[in-house]
Amino acid sequence: MDVLRIEGVSKNFGGVTALVDFFMVQHENEITGIIGPNGAGKTTVFNLINGVYPLDNGRIFFINQDITESPAHKRAEMGISRTFQNIRLFKNLNVLDNMKVACGWKVRYSLWEEMIRLPRPQREEKEIDEKARYFLEYLNLTQYANQRPDNLPYGIQRRLELARTLMAEPKLLLLDEPAAGLNPKEVVSLMEMIKKLQQDYNLTIIIVEHHMELIMKICSLIHVLDFGKKIAVGKPEEIKRNESVLQAYLGDGA
C-alpha cells in the first residue's frame, strides 16, 4: 500500500524556487532517504508533507486521502509525525510534558471537565502519563523525565524528539537530519534505534540526511534532490554509482 503519494508538487519562496514538480511514492513499512546538497529543497519536502506552508502546485495524498489542503494539526492527527533539523522541543515543559503534548489531541475529555477536575480527565491524564513513561523507557530516557530539555545533552535531545513522535502513534515518520551534530558512536546507535522503531511499530519512515553512511545502510530507496529538482531515485547501490548524483555533490564541493 502507498502511505504517501506526492504528485507534481512545486514551491516558490518570493521568486526563489525551492521545489519543482516533485513526485514521490512511499510504500508501507519502508525506510526512504532524501539526500542532496544544502539548499536542495529537502526540508521543503517535509514542510509540505506536514503542512508548514501551502504548496503552489500539485497534490499530496496520505493513505489515499487528499491532504493538500489539510491544516498541519489535522495531518498530525492523521498520523504524520516529525522531528526537526534544529530540534524543537518545548523549553518551558519538562521532558515528560514534552512527550504528553504530542498526544494531547487524542484525549476525549472536554475543556469543562478539565476546568473543574472531573474524574475523566484525571483518568485519561494517568493513561497518558503511563504511555509517556513507557516510551521514555523504550528509548532509555526515563532518568531525564523531570528535567527541562534545555539542560540535556544534544544527543539526548535528539532522542527525546524521536520519542515524542511515537506518542501520537504515527503511521508515517519524517526525520529531518536525525544524525546532525551527533558523534560517530551516537550515529551508530541512532541507526539501530531507527531500525528497531520501524520493526517494533510497523512504521513508514522518510529520512532527510547528510550522513551518507546512515542513509546507505538503512534506506531501501533514496531520492536525490538538487536545486529543487529530483535528479535521481533508486536503491542505495544504484545511487552510489549514479553520475549526476556524483556531479551534484562534487559540484557542490562536498
Binding site: V52, G104, E114, M115, R164
Partner: protein
C-alpha cells in the same frame, strides 16, 4: 476598615491579573486591550442592572458573556496572524472601546461616567471569585490545556505539528481570559460604584501584562503575590504612590534582564500541586 478596603481593591485587580495570566503568562498572547474588556464588563453589568433593571446575577452573567463574545470577534481576524497583529489590534480595541463609551453618552453617561450602582459586591464575593478562578487556572495549567498553552507559547509551529490546532487553542484562551477580565470589571463596577471610560486605558492593560511578567510566566502563585504587593503598595506608602508605576517599570526591566523567568520562577503553592509532584516521583 482601611485594611479591608485595601484588601478589596487589591483583590479586585488581582482578578484582572489572573485573567491576563492565562493568555499572556501561559500562552504568550499579549493584549494591550484588556483594559477595554474591563470597561466592557463594568459597563455591561452596570447598564444591564441600572437601565434594563435586570437582577444583579444576570447582569454579571451578561458581562461575562459580552467579554467572551467580544474576545471571539476580535480573535477571528487576529489570532491567525503573527502575534504582533494581535497585540496591535487589541491596542486599537482598547482605544475603540474608550471612544465608543464616550460616544454612546446616552447609555453610558459619556465622559461623566456612571455612578449610583448599589454596592452589591463585597469582599466575600471577590475572595470567593479569586479562589474559584485560581482553582480553574490551576486545573487547566496541570492538564492538557495548560500544556498546550505552554507549547503554543514556546513554539507555535512545533505545537501545530503535535496536532494542536493553534488557532482554536489561542481562541479558547483568549475567550476565557476575556470572560474573566470582563467579570472582574463587573465586580469593579458594583464595588467601587463609579466607572468612567478613561479608567482602564492601555496603561492599565500594560500594567496587567507587566505584573504577570514580574510574577513569573509559570507561576500563578507568583503572579498573585506580585499583584497583591503592587496594588496594596500605594495604599500603605502614600508619599510614594505617584511613583508607583515608575518603580514598577524599573523593577520589571531589571527582572526581565536578570531573572527572565520572573521573580517566582515556577513556584506554585497549592497543596494539590505539591501532592501531585510527590506522586510523580
Amino acid at each position: 476598615m482601611f485594611y479591608l478596603k485595601v484588601l478589596e481593591i487589591t483583590s479586585l485587580y488581582t482578578i484582572l491579573v489572573l485573567g491576563v495570566y492565562l493568555m499572556t503568562g501561559l500562552t504568550g498572547l499579549f493584549s494591550l486591550g484588556q483594559g477595554g474588556f474591563v470597561s466592557i464588563g463594568a459597563y455591561t453589568a452596570a447598564i444591564a442592572f441600572m437601565k434594563l433593571n435586570l437582577p444583579f446575577p444576570v447582569a454579571l452573567m451578561m458581562a461575562v458573556v459580552m467579554g467572551a463574545v467580544l474576545g471571539f470577534l476580535i480573535g477571528i481576524p487576529t489570532l491567525r496572524l503573527r502575534r504582533d497583529y494581535f497585540l496591535l489590534v487589541t491596542f486599537c480595541l482598547g482605544e475603540m472601546v474608550r471612544a465608543a463609551l464616550l460616544y454612546l453618552a446616552q447609555l453610558t453617561g459619556g465622559a461623566l461616567g456612571m455612578a449610583g450602582m448599589p454596592r452589591k459586591v463585597g469582599l466575600p464575593l471577590i475572595l470567593i471569585s479569586i479562589v474559584f478562578i485560581t482553582f480553574i487556572l490551576y486545573s487547566l495549567k496541570r492538564s492538557r490545556f495548560g500544556r498546550d498553552c505552554i507549547a503554543v507559547r514556546d513554539d507555535e509551529l512545533a505545537a501545530s505539528m503535535m496536532g494542536i490546532n493553534v488557532f482554536a487553542h489561542k481562541m479558547k484562551v483568549f475567550i476565557i481570559s476575556s470572560a474573566i477580565t470582563a467579570y472582574g470589571g463587573a465586580l469593579y463596577a458594583f464595588n467601587i460604584l463609579f466607572i468612567e471610560p478613561n479608567l482602564f486605558n492601555w496603561l492599565e492593560s500594560g500594567r496587567l501584562i507587566i505584573i504577570t511578567f514580574v510574577g513569573g510566566l509559570n507561576s500563578i502563585a507568583g503572579v498573585i503575590i506580585t499583584s497583591a504587593i503592587y496594588y496594596s503598595f500605594g495604599e500603605f506608602f502614600r508619599f510614594i504612590d505617584v511613583w508607583r508605576d515608575v518603580l514598577l517599570a524599573l523593577v520589571v526591566i531589571l527582572v526581565v534582564i536578570f531573572r527572565p523567568g520572573g521573580l517566582f520562577q515556577g513556584l506554585e503553592l497549592l497543596p494539590q500541586k505539591l501532592l501531585s509532584r510527590t506522586e510523580r516521583k
